[in-house]
């Protein structure tokens, strides 16, 4: 390698290193803002905005869904295993919304600890399998489709 090329290669390496360091610092500083949702267990430790408006993420607890028979009003509990938060919502739920499904609710937490959702999104997990395989796993009692 000629000295000129070596010099250019050094410059290229320094450029990538510099930009990489800058990005790493920026990402670390903005860590909290990069989170799309907060899990029930993290509510206490997170700095919530003053009007307690944020996105809550977790699994819909089994047996917690209660639908109003005359309106779109629904209540359910979002859990991450350790803690859970009751949620109320009035509106159309996504196709994937069901018990045990990952959901992200945007809204605010009132003083009584009830989360009033304005929007509910389903969070799909990364498992893909045919229905027969899922049924076989169910019969065997093996877990599948768990939101990490």
């Amino acid at each position: 390698m000629t000295p000129r090329r070596r010099k250019r290669l050094t410059a290229v390496a320094l450029l990538v290193l510099g930009v990489g360091t800058a990005a790493a610092i920026a990402i670390t500083a903005l860590q909290d803002n990069m989170l799309y949702f907060i899990a029930p267990s993290d509510i206490q430790t997170s700095e919530l905005p003053p009007e307690r408006n944020f996105r809550l993420g977790g699994l819909v607890e089994a047996g917690s869904i209660q639908r109003d028979s005359e309106s779109l009003y629904v209540t359910f509990t979002v859990t991450d295993g350790a803690h859970s938060v009751p949620v109320s919502y009035a509106g159309i739920l996504p196709d994937l919304f069901r018990e045990g499904q990952g959901v992200i609710a945007q809204g605010h937490l009132d003083d009584a600890g009830l989360f009033h959702a304005r929007e509910v999104l389903a969070r799909h997990d990364e498992t893909y399998m045919p229905p027969e395989v899922a049924a076989a796993l169910d019969r065997a009692g093996a877990p599948h489709g768990v939101l990490e």
Binding site: A11, I27, Y36, Y128
Partner: protein
């Protein structure tokens, strides 16, 4: 071995050799691409079973995921070419680095659009400003920025060098895209296919993903060689070798 590789590398640096290499390879790459797409689409749309949760909607992933992988792979190829451009100043590398950008942008667009179409019924929204979706959108803008910067220079070679610096700056976004679903909470699900570790997709659903991914890679190769060949001819249209090259590929009249 090393000297032979080095020699082949330098030979490809000559416009005429590159042109002939491209002309010979393009039909093969397109032929194999079409075979791969045919098998992949047949499997993706007909052969594989539906998903236990999403039903048939998950079939979108057979275009979404290969497009996303190619969007990122294109950028990695461009980064390597950008280093060659800046350090060794090989002209064919410069041209390939620049002509890869619109192809990468196209695959990024496919990824974003198919993801949005899938997101509406599954998530309940077309778009969310989570780390994965946002960093992918940033990738599209980086591609457009590289294209714009290159086009802004009258001196193509100088433009390629300046745009190569932008390629190197933008490469930080690639690990961010990849790790976004691990570093932060996102609406987008985590990685299904893991090269190092278990994948969370039933083996019966994997073959179309592999076929489509390989087909997309071959297609990228064909598109890149076509665009690079065009750019080379256009830049050198007043040089003697272009006419000689066209004669060789049967364009004389």
């Amino acid at each position: 071995m090393w000297t032979q590789t080095k020699l082949a590398f330098h030979k490809l640096g000559s416009p005429l050799t590159f042109f002939r290499f491209a002309q010979a390879l393009i039909p093969w790459l397109w032929g194999l691409t079409l075979v791969g797409l045919a098998v992949g689409l047949y499997q993706a749309l007909y052969l594989v079973p539906p998903d236990y949760q999403q039903g048939d909607s998950y079939r979108i992933l057979y275009i979404h995921v290969p497009a996303a992988w190619q969007a990122m792979a294109t950028y990695i190829v461009m980064t390597i070419l950008a280093v060659i451009t800046l350090v060794w100043r090989i002209r064919t590398a410069e041209i390939m680095a620049m002509t890869a950008a619109p192809i990468g942008a196209a695959f990024t667009l496919i990824c974003l659009v198919t993801g949005a179409i899938w997101g509406r019924p599954m998530w309940g929204t077309y778009w969310a400003w989570d780390a994965r979706l946002t960093s992918m959108l940033v990738l599209l803008f980086i591609y457009l920025g590289i294209m714009g910067l290159y086009a802004a220079f009258d001196d193509r070679r100088q433009g390629a060098r300046v745009a190569s610096i932008l390629i190197l700056v933008g490469v930080v976004n690639i690990p961010i895209i990849h790790f976004s679903v691990e570093w932060w909470t996102t609406l987008h699900q985590g990685s299904t296919i893991n090269l190092f570790g278990p994948s969370t997709m039933d083996p019966s659903m994997l073959p179309p993903l592999i076929w489509m991914t390989v087909a997309v890679k071959l297609m990228f190769g064909a598109l890149l060689l076509q665009r690079a060949r065009n750019e080379l001819l256009e830049q050198d249209q007043r040089k003697k070798w272009t006419l000689q090259a066209l004669r060789m590929s049967g364009h004389d009249s």
